[in-house]
Symmetry: C2
Subunit: 327 residues, 2 copies
């Protein structure tokens, strides 16, 4: 009797299930060919029994961070953190004033620091981030993230993230994709906030690094950050980092600059699996920044934009494709 009474309600509930799943997974994206391309790709590779189906363990997606998941203007945020650290630490390290990158920094020579895709900036980062334990470093980053604010948006840096990209991360994970960060930023820096901000755990972050040093000190294990064996996870370094850390070829890659071109090429060209490449093109000076077409800017997007049509990459026009930018 109870069963019979329940039956109509169960059927009613079942009837609404497809509607529940039909909720727009990317509400901050305007409808159009780019949003459609994302959804088509995800639906294609998750449809069992088709030649395009990709098993769950191979659903690897990789995301650049600076300029792809969060802003990178007026400078990549880790550079702003390093600048704040340098100001604090410089009085105790007069010898650093001889370092060409520090000199460039003290002259605010952004062009020199940004040359070779931030080589100078990364050296400053290495200098200001070494000689301490990872726990001390984490504490400093946490403190900075809790207090520092973006100069234009007047909010914590962890809130200068792109709402449409947060939705994309969730959408991919809901379809059993792993979502990895593959960024030129320092891996220890990103690990402090990526879990809370993006839902990406420390073990799914590939970034620039120097090796720590291990020793037993007073009977306790101690790691110390160094500047040894610096690996820069940018340009051709990105596929190298992906192979070394992850060991699988991604099927989807998301970036915003020439620094991401090699990663997207590695993901999409000659891949036996269906694959997807996407570039976030910064076109909205009003709501964010329109900087990537300027060959002198950080986050330069020239060659990657040129090859995009040839390889079928989706180029997101922030101004037109995104309803909302910051949450």
């Amino acid at each position: 009797m109870i069963v019979r009474t329940c039956l109509p309600f169960c059927l009613l509930f079942a009837a609404f299930l497809p509607l529940a799943f039909a909720v727009d997974p990317l509400p901050s994206w305007n409808d159009g060919p780019n949003k459609k391309a994302i959804i088509d790709f995800v639906e294609k590779v998750t449809k069992a029994g088709t030649p395009d189906f990709v098993p769950v363990e191979e659903r690897i997606s990789v995301f650049d961070n600076d300029g792809t998941l969060w802003c990178e203007n007026p400078l990549p945020f880790q550079a702003i953190f390093a600048a704040d650290e340098l100001k604090t630490l410089l009085p105790d390290h007069p010898e650093w004033r001889e370092d060409p990158s520090v000199k460039a920094f003290l002259k605010s020579d952004i062009a020199a620091l940004s040359a070779n895709h931030y080589k100078g900036l990364l050296e400053i980062i290495a200098l200001t981030h070494a000689g301490i334990t990872p726990d001390e470093f984490t504490a400093r980053v946490k403190q900075w993230l809790a207090t520092a604010k973006h100069p234009r948006f007047d909010r914590p840096f962890t809130e200068c993230v792109y709402q449409p990209m947060l939705e994309l991360l969730s959408y991919l994970r809901a379809n059993d994709f792993q979502t990895w960060i593959v960024s030129g930023g320092g891996v220890d820096f990103m690990r402090v906030f990526a879990e809370g901000t993006y839902g990406i755990p420390p073990e799914q972050i590939i970034g620039s690094y120097s090796l720590v040093r291990f020793e037993m000190k007073d009977g306790k294990p101690v790691l110390t950050k160094t500047v040894d064996s610096l690996f820069i996870d940018d340009k051709g370094g990105k596929p190298v980092g992906i192979h070394t850390f992850l060991g699988r070829r991604p099927i989807a890659a998301f970036g915003n600059s020439n620094g991401d071109q090699a990663m997207i090429e590695y993901t999409t060209i000659d891949n036996p699996r269906p694959s997807f490449g996407l570039i976030v093109h910064h076109t909205d000076a009003e709501r964010e920044y329109a900087y990537d077409a300027n060959p002198k800017s950080t986050g330069k997007l020239t060659t990657a934009l040129e090859v995009a049509p040839k390889y079928g990459w989706t180029v997101v026009d922030m101004k037109n494709d995104w309803k909302t930018i910051l949450p």
Copy 2:
């Protein structure tokens, strides 16, 4: 009516559920303090609402491979693979005969090759594994694993694994632990078989590596294995590798030699979380090998065995603790 008829059966089923969960998760382990220590630790950290509870995302366990998950005698298996490769490749590379490690190899000078925890062997590995794409390398390893046999056990090397450790991996994963390999072996080598043999995916393997080189060749992305930036994931390198690749401190570490001591120290000493360290002591010459007490042997276990009681590490006596060794 249907509901009422079903009810007694449902209750009966529910009554048996606890019994189902009481099935021995480690059937190849003899009952005793070591088996109990493992189960006590897992039950302790998974019991919600207690101070010892560890959230799922922090349940990281790390396993050495050679001598911990599979045999490492008469030589670590990757060294046997490298020897087979070297025999094949040497006629085309006469210049290699000048390399001190190759010389030691050609004289079968195992002591020289094994000195400094296999430094010479690792150089041979680097030499025989470089200049090809990871895909070519994977194909060679697969081919070797499919045909080569262990000289004593007369079975494929992937079947020379420890049944009790396979059960331990499953038991930890059933309790939402991540099970990582942290081994001196080459990461590209282990990634070929670890998923099929241990259920450990490529992205949860930390090993020795050289960086690959990335280039676009005839319009296609190509990775090439090199001998550049060799990182040896052994001794103090293990905590370094764990920090760099994984970015979380493990709460359980499993090894069998002095090469694992730093990793187990890093896991168990001064860890704010409850932690567990275990050493597999090779004591069974009849069913496997009893080699680790010999200071000249590969897989030497001396200092790590000395400090084990002080740090409360569990020392598994293979002869007495394991009912079965190979599956």
